[in-house]
């Protein structure tokens, strides 16, 4: 059951990421990225991180991707054209990424015995467990992030404003 869910949603993740890579229009890439992020939320749930699964759906596939699609529509972005730089990137980028993935896969699978196995339902981190650490031990960093968010909002408004 768990393995089936992992294969289905892991496959959806990889398929969505490959679609992001292969599509030429940015809106198609954005929609496939939403698929990747929503499937990742299910994988978080399988790993017992229920708060992060909800936050993933709300923050990533909700807020951030809505921002992306808004900007794509606002700027009326068209299909990207092939240039000399993209050919160079194909020559360097695809083998580099292939080497990276095969290296990491080899390392992880050769140490497979050292890692634990996941069973659904064990070690479920509830929102209460998370907030107990977040609001007791990490209260100062949590409050500092609110300042960061305010500065980011002000910066975004200042950057995107029309100049006179």
């Amino acid at each position: 059951m768990h393995l089936a869910l992992f294969i289905i949603f892991g496959g959806l993740c990889v398929a969505g990421a490959l679609n992001l890579l292969l599509q030429r229009h940015p809106i198609n890439s954005a929609l496939s990225l939403i698929v990747v992020m929503s499937s990742l939320a299910v994988l978080y749930l399988l790993l017992g991180a229920e708060f992060l699964a909800a936050a993933q759906v709300i923050v990533y596939s909700g807020a951030i991707m809505v921002l992306f699609t808004f900007v794509i529509m606002l700027l009326n972005a068209g299909t990207e054209e092939r240039t000399h730089g993209s050919k160079m990137a194909y020559v360097a980028g695809v083998p580099g990424a292939a080497i990276l993935v095969s290296l990491l896969t080899f390392v992880f699978l050769s140490h497979r015995g050292d890692f634990a196995s996941v069973r659904v339902g064990d070690y479920l981190a509830t929102t209460g467990d998370l907030s107990r650490v977040l609001f007791r031990d990490l209260l100062l960093p949590f409050e500092v992030t609110s300042i960061l968010i305010i500065i980011a909002i002000l910066g975004a408004v200042a950057l995107a404003r029309k100049e006179h």
């Binding site: 951030i64 992306f68 990424a97 960093p141």
Partner: protein, 106 residues
Amino acid sequence: MVPIAYYLVLSAILFSIGVAAFLIKRNIITVFMSIELMLNAVNLTFVAFTRHWSQVTGHLQVSGQIFVFFVMVVAAAEAAVGLAIIIAVFRARNTLNVDQIDLMKL
């Protein structure tokens, strides 16, 4: 029962696709989206290792998940500022192609 290593391999695949998309894509918005994909892959690694650490120590560990929470917060701020910069660049240069935005190139 799924070994943690499978989750790590999945996240390695997602990260590498993100790297490839970052290098290949010529649209600045898509390049930015591939950065988000890489961040997501790293988040999956954090959650998987949190689970591994819980199993090793025998009781629930949440520090890795809190790390992911902070990554999400910073990613949201970064997306807002980055897209504002993209809008400003588009206003100034009237293009989204990264090959044509090369003023700082030697």
